[in-house]
Amino acid sequence: MKVLVVNNMAPFVSGGAESMAAHLKTHLEAAGHEAEVLRIPFQWEPATRIPSQMLMARAFELQNVDHVIALKFPAYLIPHPRKTLWLVHQYRQAYDLYDAGQTNLPDGQIGDNLRHLIKTADNECFQGARHIFSISDVTQKRLAKYNGFASDVLRAPINDPELFAGGPSENYIFAGGRVNAAKRQHLLLEALALAPRNVRLVIAGPPDSVADATRLHEATERLGLKDRVRLDLRFLERREYAAWVNGAAAVASLPFDEESFSYVAMEAATAGKALISTTDSGGVLGLAKHKETGWVAEPHPEALATALGAAYADPKRTADFGSAARACWISHNITWPATVEALLS
């Protein structure tokens, strides 16, 4: 089948959904289909131009395409008789972010009209879709709440599971992925200062800003943790990153109110590593279950310190939690072949 993946693009900015679209293309081809990605430029500032961007997506014509998989607003408005949505997100500033007071839509009648326009076009598109999948529970709930459409959750698989084969513990706790305030690596450092002396921590990943990196370096210095922490704050090649995961005693992931399972937790579970997370980490808790697949602590240093210590107290139990994390992950059957099959059904 000739499958066109339709996505937005912000010119000269590469986001997560772009790499998801590229991986989807690769795995469609692996399943024996022809696949190509259409990237439609989307400019949402000023907000009064949003209608023109919606009109643009609706005015394009497709030929020589058997099936469309569309990911984002407004790209998913492109007409095609066989269109499946894999909803990463809608225009949130017209929905939940509007309710939260975080919108770029103007006040008053103009803003109300824009929201009405977006919602009406969305509803029409959702009505005509062959199938709607949501990338997460959160996206699914929003779609039901604001537009009244049911959808099935279809989480994005990890892209290179073969890299996460696991391995013996080299006695460090690993925290990988992007470094910023919401991912709360700083909280891990505060906890480490209160944890038994034998606990060691590796934090590796790209900081969002210089300030995010400085904050961790300063905390390490201030808390006297230099000999127990390794900070490697840069973008890591996938193999470097996987090596850290595979050698960890346990993997910590404590993002604030994460929408999805988070790649960090999914990759750790694939490698059979026990998970350390916090009670307010949202989607991560789908994989991190207290005293089943790891430890879920209150989001403050004392409670986290106890969890860090527990991971070292009984290595056999920690390894068992890791195996349980892997089993939990596998039970979700989130793989590219299953995803491709669902998206084409």
Binding site: P11, Q43, L55, M56, E61, V65
Partner: protein, 344 residues
């Protein structure tokens, strides 16, 4: 510089229209620029044309320092620093109006669309800081139909150093898509009039199986099957370089092509003489009769004489091959010139 390369595309259809964009993208990146490639769909149906043109008009690429537009109707995109490297019009509405290729009736309705299209194209091209074309033929059309002055900027091929001259065997090769309008059948028909034992090799993929099957049958009917190889498949770049390195000459006989065509340029990089016809369009901007190749009427007997001549006079063939190679520089075909002009 942040440069957006804009073109239209038909999903899952590859070809030269993508090469010019994607090769430029690589070369621009190597030169240190940030490049975003934007392919937007375009269907040529007359009644769907204007709404799609509106879509192109709504594309917002303010984040780019400049945009370079290729295949129609990407030149409709508005930008404060728009460069157009025009590769063809929607030809059914232009030079092919009075031809079987129009594909819709000559009536008031379609004349209305045509007139509006000409006006919109002219206005959009007029917005550009500079318009380049890929050949003199296309420049002439821009002048004639839109009153737009353009500079011819011949598209180079990617990594031309891959091509080289190694030997001259007894084969004339034709490496391009096997399609009726590329006229491989004329070469087979010519073979039976040849007095020399010159051979033919026709390689390339076809959009259908009919034309290659027809070529095979033709070779049998003409009694020349033993002297022609028909290789119906995609030829990889390394294999192409090998074929051109060893052949006697390269033939390329498209009907009224828009530009000289990549096959012409590839053969010239391998310093091989070129065989083409008087009606091949842009190809004739490169190939000069008896200087770097032979140009004949599109008839089997005339082609046969030229093929014999290439076979029998190897010194002349060698000399013309060298001239074909020199012609590349003469026409200033190269990436450094392209970058210099597009980024001026």
């Amino acid at each position: 510089m942040k440069i957006a390369l804009c073109s239209s595309f038909v999903p899952f259809v590859n070809g030269g229209y993508r090469n010019i964009v994607e090769w430029l993208e690589i070369v621009l990146r190597e030169a240190g620029h940030e490049v975003e490639r934007i392919y937007l769909p375009e269907v040529d149906a007359p009644d769907l044309l204007f709404k799609q043109m509106a879509a192109f008009r709504f594309v917002d690429l303010e984040a780019a320092d400049r945009i370079i537009c290729f295949r129609p109707q990407s030149h409709l995109i508005a930008h404060r620093h728009k460069i157009v490297w025009f590769i063809h019009h929607l030809r059914g509405f232009y030079d092919l109006w009075d031809s079987p290729y129009r594909g819709f009736p000559d009536d008031t309705h379609h004349r209305g669309i045509r007139d509006a299209l000409w006006a919109a194209d002219t206005a959009a091209l007029g917005e550009a800081k500079q318009v380049f074309s890929n050949s003199q033929v296309v420049s002439d059309r821009l002048q004639r139909y839109n009153g737009i002055q353009s500079e011819t900027l011949f598209p180079p091929i990617f990594r031309p150093e891959r091509f080289h001259h190694r030997a001259m065997n007894d084969e004339i090769v034709c490496i391009c898509r096997l399609e009726h309008h590329k006229r491989q059948h004329l070469l087979i028909e010519a073979l039976r009039y040849c007095n020399s034992p010159v051979k033919l090799k026709l390689c390339g993929l076809s959009s259908s199986t009919d034309y290659p099957a027809g070529l095979r049958q033709l070779a049998l009917d003409q009694g020349v099957a033993g002297r022609v190889v028909i290789d119906h498949r995609w030829i990889g770049e390394d294999e192409k370089a090998d074929l051109l390195a060893d052949c006697l000459a390269a033939a390329y006989l498209p009907v009224d092509e828009d530009s000289y065509g990549y096959p012409t340029l590839e053969a010239a990089h391998a310093a091989k003489p070129l065989l083409t016809t008087t009606d091949a369009g842009g190809t004739l901007e490169f190939v000069l009769h008896e200087i770097n190749g032979l140009v004949t009427p599109p008839e089997p007997q005339a082609l046969a004489m030229a093929m014999d001549r290439l076979y029998e006079d190897r010194d002349e063939a060698q000399r013309m091959g060298r001239s074909a190679n020199a012609r590349i520089e003469e026409l200033n075909i190269g990436w450094s010139h392209v970058l210099e002009r597009l980024l001026a």
